[in-house]
């Protein structure tokens, strides 16, 4: 009995270790606020311990991200700065808009790609993050975004196509360490 509880607790800790940071980053994307994202993730883990753990232990990712997403959207709704309503953007604070592509200042190789990701429409950003940060399948992402796997395929295809184009465009004038002509 005692060891069973310990094992359960260990499983839970493993899940926390694995998902905490991706979930915080994901929630921060939606809320635009670090602290709120933390609160949302805490809430998600507490819910998971109470309700989700038993049924979703084998594959907790979809459950965690979906619950986390809903909680983050709730925070936005409460604060009347909804980024999403279904697919629609209702109201977006200026700071939360995707970064205009031509304003990209930092063109270092590292993190550069993620900066371009930040210029994509919010839903494409979400799909990219879920796919490449958390390695979720189209089907899992579809469940989280409450859409179809086909639609996820279109979102990712469009997002990657744009990323390729923008990267190539910037890479044209971004060759690291190449001296400027006047030097």
């Amino acid at each position: 009995m005692g060891s069973g509880r310990t094992a359960k607790r260990q499983e839970f800790e493993e899940i926390v270790h694995r998902f905490e940071i991706p979930l915080v980053q994901y929630a921060q994307h939606i809320t635009g606020d670090r602290e709120q994202a933390r609160d949302v993730v805490q809430e998600t883990f507490v819910k998971f311990q109470r309700n989700g753990a038993l049924r979703h232990q084998d594959e907790p990712a979809t459950w965690l991200f979906r619950v986390c997403r809903n909680a983050a959207l709730n925070v936005c709704r409460k604060e009347r700065r909804m980024m999403y309503l279904g697919e629609e953007v209702i109201e977006v604070r200026e700071s939360e808009q995707p970064m205009p592509f031509d304003q990209l200042q930092q063109k270092e190789a590292t993190g550069f790609l993620l900066q371009i990701v930040a210029t994509l429409p919010p839903r494409q950003q979400e799909a990219i993050q879920l796919k490449f940060q958390s390695d979720l399948s189209y089907q899992q992402i579809a469940e989280i975004l409450q859409t179809t796997a086909n639609n996820v395929g279109v979102l990712l295809h469009t997002a990657l196509k744009t990323l390729r184009q923008r990267y190539a465009q910037v890479a044209g004038d971004f060759i690291p360490f190449k001296p400027k002509p006047n030097e």
């Binding site: 607790r9 839970f12 800790e13 926390v16 270790h17 940071i21 991706p22 915080v24 980053q25 933390r38 805490q42 883990f45 507490v46 311990q49 930092q106 270092e108 190789a109 590292t110 993190g111 550069f112 790609l113 993620l114 990701v117 990219i128 993050q129 796919k131 490449f132 940060q133 390695d135 399948s137 189209y138 086909n150 395929g153 279109v154 990712l156 295809h157 990657l160 196509k161 990323l163 390729r164 990267y167 890479a171 971004f174 060759i175 690291p176 360490f177 190449k178 001296p179 400027k180 030097e183």
Partner: protein
């Protein structure tokens, strides 16, 4: 075939069922455009995954996170075990950072794992531990052993505990080799002063991996048994810089040794010279501009910790137990004219996996032969038990393709020196 098809992306991301997968494979077989598209998506996917992983590591070590763990009411709810486990995770973060071998960081990103931090060395031409090492401290055996330093100008072994960091300039000229060569061909062993080992090593071009796309340099680290002192390890740092870069003379490689693995280290070459010679050398280097491809090679001789603790009588240090613990981290700071701060920055970590010198890459063998040749010509107190005979052996093993015959010429030179030494 239309490449603007989500199916192709799904194929590249391994999201298709087997039946669809083989259908796409057949359909793309005759379309170079589609294949290129798939390859690009795969590249992009890899790059995204690796950048998210890097971001993840940064989050793990963010100071904010540590305070959050202590301050959050949630963590008091889930109990001390979780906290302990998370702290354990944080404790190994250093190891995570050390072991990420291929990580590149940009000049503006401030990883907490950045070992050396902002460096404001006013004169980076002189390797950084040189002056400090010249002043022996009371409790450091290795520094106290630097007795002959004043006489030979040689760099002593430096204790990692007192000086974990060393800096070595990226740019050297290679005049010394011509002087040494001229002297030996004329039938005279060269004067000690004229033998500058780092210049001799870098007289030769070495084959290092080309930089990957969008990068202009590669930084390569290897650790093998030190051939002239088999109880020590030999670290080779090799840099390949592409394109003609107007690199400044104060571009450098910063090395940080891990005190858990290394007792002391010695930078090979860069022996002390009088102020006048140094000044003229610096002048030469400042006007040095890089050709289409520039390679740079330097060696550190390292006394591994294990060796000292066990006072081992074996020839090869046992490294298996600690193999994952890195030996050192090297950071390349490339500076160009008109920029005060480094414009290019790369960081690499290397662990000692116990490689023997016999298994070393040929480029390393050849460079080590040149280094030992220099030490023998200088009659260095650190030349160990190497001989000109062995120098020949290593140079032969490391001769490689030798397209322009420079290495064959070196081998000939060593033979001549052998004759001169005997006479």
């Amino acid at each position: 075939m239309n490449v603007d098809d989500p199916k192709l992306t799904a194929y590249a991301l391994h999201e298709l069922e087997e039946r669809e997968r083989s259908a796409i494979a057949r359909a793309t077989a005759g379309s170079p455009e589609a294949q290129r598209f798939i390859a690009e998506i795969e590249d992009l996917a890899r790059a995204l995954r690796s950048q998210y992983r890097l971001e993840f590591k940064r989050e793990l070590i963010a100071p904010e996170k540590i305070t959050a763990i202590h301050g959050d009411s949630f963590w008091s709810k889930v109990g001390p075990l979780t906290i302990a486990a998370l702290l354990a995770v944080l404790a190994v973060v250093g190891a995570v950072l050390f072991s990420s071998n291929e990580r590149r960081i940009s000049s503006s990103s401030s990883l907490s794992g950045d070992l050396t931090g902002p460096h404001t060395q006013s004169n980076q031409f002189v390797p950084v531990e040189a002056e400090d090492a010249a002043r022996p401290s009371q409790d450091e055996k290795f520094e106290a052993d630097a007795g002959p330093y004043a006489f030979t100008g040689e760099r002593p072994f430096v204790s990692v505990r007192s000086k974990p960091r060393s800096s070595v300039p990226l740019m050297v000229n290679s005049h010394s080799y011509s002087d040494v060569r001229r002297s030996i061909i004329a039938g005279l062993l060269p004067s000690r002063q004229s033998v500058r080992i780092e210049e001799m090593i870098n007289h030769f071009q070495y084959e290092y991996p080309q930089p990957i796309a969008n990068e202009s340099f590669s930084l390569n680290l290897d650790v093998v048994t030190c051939p002239w002192q088999p109880t020590h390890r030999l670290v080779r740092i090799g840099v390949n810089v592409q394109q003609a870069i107007a690199a400044r003379a104060d571009s450098s490689i910063e090395v940080e040794f891990n005190p858990k693995r290394v007792v002391s280290y010695r930078l090979i070459g860069y022996d002390r010279q009088d102020a006048e010679t140094q000044e003229s050398n610096e002048k030469n280097i400042s006007s040095h501009s890089m050709a289409a491809e520039y390679t740079f090679t330097t060696f550190y001789e390292v006394v591994p910790l294990k060796q000292v603790v066990t006072a081992s009588h074996t020839q090869t240090p046992s490294v298996a137990e600690n193999a994952s613990e890195p030996l050192l981290t090297a950071k390349l700071q490339l500076k160009t004219r008109g920029h005060e701060t480094a414009v290019g920055l790369a960081q690499r970590t290397v662990s000692d996996t116990g490689f023997d010198f016999a298994a070393a890459p040929s480029e390393l063998k050849f460079a080590a032969a040149v280094a030992e040749f220099g030490m023998i010509l200088r009659d260095s107190e650190y030349k160990g038990n190497g001989s000109l005979h062995q120098v020949l052996e290593w140079a032969e093993q490391g001769k490689g393709a030798d397209v322009n015959g420079y290495r064959a010429d070196f081998i000939e030179l060593v033979r001549k020196a052998q004759v001169l030494k005997k006479s």
